[in-house]
């Protein structure tokens, strides 16, 4: 039985600069949460960008549910259920909260009834978004924008969620809330790849984790192993 998402020997670079990823391999099973840790510039966000198809890889293979998707364009990956929650939230600031959510469900636009059901589900998870559904997304606070970003991804009915630093720039209460939501999503059966600077929080939440350094995986193991790993403690847990 192969993993839901499998990455083998991934190499990638921006323009003609030196490669940022130098042979990354990792796997994500059904219902699993894997944390990706590492310093700034280690290549964490790049991994997600390659997985969602925004950056082509130079070498390597990405398989999703047994299917080779290495060369698949981003919108088709979303349709398959591989959905990214981008770093810095990336609101469509001039559209309302509801329009942002609807765009998240664009790949399922023909299925109006189901889309409405998903919308209710998202409003169930984030009641505050329902209150503010007519408000422009750009006028929301950072925490509420992060909820819109998560909700927008959920509208695509993902099987794998790629989360890029969901706690970035959020107040402590909000950070807690966002991590709570991620924990809940995972209980619903989603597989999640979580990139986080907040290493401790991420490991607490994860089943397994990998540590990247200069584009290679230096440590991989269960959450417990990461917690006790000398390298992780020294470099990321302070």
């Amino acid at each position: 039985m192969s993993a839901l998402l499998e990455v083998e020997d991934l190499w990638a670079a921006y323009d003609d600069a030196a490669p940022v990823l130098k042979g990354i391999s990792l796997r994500l099973e059904q219902r699993e949460l894997v944390a990706v840790l590492g310093a700034n510039g280690a290549g964490k966000s790049t991994v997600l960008r390659v997985l969602s198809g925004l950056l082509p890889c130079q070498r390597g293979r990405v398989t999703f549910d047994g299917r080779d998707i290495t060369a698949m364009p981003p919108h088709r990956r979303v349709a398959l259920g591989l959905v990214q929650v981008p770093e810095g939230r990336q609101m469509l600031a001039g559209l309302s909260v509801e329009e942002n959510l609807l765009l998240g469900g664009y790949v399922r636009r023909r299925d109006r009834a189901e889309l409405a059901a998903s919308m209710d589900e998202v409003y169930g998870i984030f009641p505050v978004l329902k209150e503010r559904r007519r408000q422009l997304a750009g006028s929301l606070s950072g925490g509420q924008q992060q909820m819109v970003a998560l909700g927008r991804a959920l509208m695509a009915k993902p099987r794998v969620l790629l989360c890029d630093e969901p706690s970035l720039g959020l107040a402590p209460l909000m950070v807690k809330e966002v991590f709570d939501v991620i924990a809940r999503l995972r209980q619903t059966g989603l597989a999640i790849l979580l990139v986080e600077q907040n290493a401790k929080k991420a490991i607490e939440l994860a089943d397994r984790g990998v540590v990247l350094r200069s584009g290679v995986v230096t440590v991989a193991g269960s959450a417990g192993e990461l917690m006790t790993s000398e390298e992780v403690r020294a470099a990321y847990l302070g």
Binding site: G41, S141, G143, G169, K176, Q197, G238
Partner: protein, 572 residues
């Protein structure tokens, strides 16, 4: 066969060489304005026409020589450019283009209709050429054109590669953060508009003399399309790209022979192909190749590493650096900042915390002049900041970073920091002149600033990546470059908006050390951050805001125990 062609059309090729020089001058001016300052003008064909007609009219009615006419046209066009620049540059983006287009059309209409003076449809003849009598007349005029073109090329290139060039690219990247780095955006843009009008004027006067006559048709929208093609084919943002563009556009109709008839169609097709094949023009593609090779080389470490000077350039004597008194600001019905008062003491590290949307970033925007105060007062070192622009505030000694980093994407990592070191540019005519003439002092400053910026990059651990474009850096490192840009200006007060977000624990502790180092050098710091461990450990004092109001203030210990803070922000 080529030789036969050259022989057959020898006289024509000298014409091509002359007009290439003339249009090169026009395109250089446009490149300064668009390729550097980011303002695409469709109206410069108007300045070009005025340059030609002024020489013709003054020769006919007042007996002016060519040189007299050229200088009169230059004065007229630069003055006109200055006035129109002030008006048009209030418009943004496409409205600016439409405004300038209207100007170009108006000039064309005036020269067509005002027949007693301009000769109307018949045009005006008898334009004198400059004569020195040293060479055969035809050759001499070509030599004069190229001497003028090369002098202007030298000036434009100096300007583009100087602090003013960096300031212009900063403006093109992000006007708000350019202003916060000390660039007088409005004045710089206006002056560059006037300079480019001057280039167009000289080019037009030479063009009039070359033809010996002026005629409205030469200055129509068709001519505008040709000039834009030269700019984009050559490659904007390089200055020398204009030479490639002008050469191609002047030589092509003669080389293409039969295609000449369908020139407009041909130009249209060419334009489309260029935009797809060379999005940055031929010169842009070549420059890209050179940069790639340079990036491949290992950059050398700065010769002697010494920590850069961080002490504020100027500092007052009172205990309070910043006083915020009853500051208020609304957006629509939302009271984002509501009667907030607090002080920041000299040498203090003060943190501003509160829930997302509480008004923290708006407060920093009010202090840095990015947004205007509705009511209340903000005083920095005795100066009331209410009526001051961001660049004036920067020059008083306040620097900042942004919550969502606003680096200059058109500049490399080190050039971003250099803009900080030199405090941008006041955009004055004097500054422009000093840079265009490449005075020895200017060159020495350039070397000193580059060296200083390199040392700042070493401090944040990015010396190796100095020449890379900022876009390839990951989020967290871009924020550190923004800090380097701010502290390189040696501010008295440094405003940091969530700089540590996106750094991991190890990176955070070296960032903490950097802030402490700045503090001991005499810098006062006001920062926004959500990481409570970071805030509590670093701060001398903390202000808490919620719903635009100050709800608590005190030492980290006091704030941590405050009931209101616990409910609103920290969580029990």
């Amino acid at each position: 066969m080529v030789a036969a062609l050259l022989l057959k059309a020898g006289w024509l090729y000298s014409d091509v060489i002359i007009t290439t020089g003339i249009f090169f001058i026009l395109v250089m001016g446009l490149d300064l304005l668009y390729g550097y300052a980011g303002q695409l003008s469709f109206g410069h064909i108007g300045f070009f026409a005025i340059g030609a007609y002024t020489v013709a009219i003054l020769a006919k009615f007042a007996g002016f020589s060519f040189v007299g006419g050229l200088l009169a046209a230059l004065v007229l066009n630069v003055a006109l450019g200055f006035v129109l620049g002030r008006i048009f540059l209030r418009l943004s983006g496409s409205y600016f283009m439409l405004g300038t287009l209207a100007f170009g059309i108006m000039v064309h209409a005036v020269i067509t209709v005002w027949s007693p003076i301009t000769g109307g449809d018949a045009g005006l003849g008898g334009i004198p050429r400059p004569v020195l009598g040293l060479l055969p007349p035809d050759v001499e005029f070509g030599v004069i054109v190229w001497i003028v073109a090369l002098i202007l090329f030298w000036l434009a290139l100096n300007l583009a590669q100087s602090r003013v060039g960096r300031a212009m690219l900063a403006v093109r990247s992000d006007e708000v953060s350019a202003a916060c780095s000390g660039v007088n955006v409005a004045r710089l843009k206006t002056n560059i508009f006037a300079v480019s009008a001057g280039f167009a004027s000289i080019s037009g006067s030479l063009f009039g003399a070359f033809n010996g006559a002026v005629h409205p048709d030469t200055f129509s929208l068709k001519a505008l399309l040709d000039v834009l093609l030269m700019l984009f084919f050559g490659g904007e943002g390089t200055i020398w790209g204009g030479l490639l563009g002008a050469t191609l556009m002047r030589a092509l109709p003669d080389l293409s022979g039969p295609l000449h008839a369908g020139k407009i169609l041909f130009s249209g097709v060419l334009f489309t192909v260029i935009i797809f094949a060379f999005p940055r023009g031929v010169a842009g593609a070549i420059a890209g190749l050179i940069a790639r090779r340079a990036r491949g080389r290992k950059s050398e470490a700065p010769p002697s590493f010494a920590p850069p000077q961080a002490a504020p350039r100027a500092s007052g004597t009172s205990d309070t650096v910043l006083e915020i008194q009853n500051a208020g600001r609304s957006f629509g019905g939302l009271r984002a900042v509501d009667a907030v008062s607090f002080n920041v003491a000299r040498g203090q590290i003060k943190s501003l915390i509160g829930p997302n949307g509480a008004g923290k970033s708006t407060l920093l925007n009010l202090v840095s002049g990015v947004q205007r105060l509705d009511d209340g007062r903000i005083v920095f070192e005795g100066h009331d900041l209410a009526e001051r622009r961001s660049d004036e505030i920067a020059r008083l000694g306040i620097q900042r970073t942004f919550q969502h980093e606003r680096l200059f994407t058109r500049l490399s990592v080190i050039e971003n920091v250099m803009v900080g070191c030199e405090g941008g540019s006041d955009g004055s005519a004097i500054d422009l002149l000093r840079c265009a003439l490449a005075l020895p002092q200017t060159l020495r400053d350039e070397a000193r600033v580059r060296d200083e910026a390199a040392r700042w990059l070493a401090v944040i651990g990015l010396a190796e990546r100095a020449d890379e474009p900022v876009a390839v850096l990951p989020h967290g490192l871009r924020k550190l470059v923004e800090v380097a840009r701010a502290v390189a200006a040696r501010p008295g007060l440094l405003l940091l908006d969530e700089t540590a977000a996106g750094l991991n624990d190890v990176e955070k502790s070296s960032f903490k050390a950097l802030i402490r180092q700045l503090q001991s050098a005499g810098v006062t710091v006001l920062l926004i951050e959500h990481d409570m461990e970071f805030v509590m450990e670093l701060s001398d004092a903390v202000v808490v805001v919620d719903f635009g109001r100050r709800i608590a203030e005190g030492t980290p210990g006091e704030v941590r125990r405050d009931q209101a803070v616990l409910t609103a922000y920290l969580g029990a």
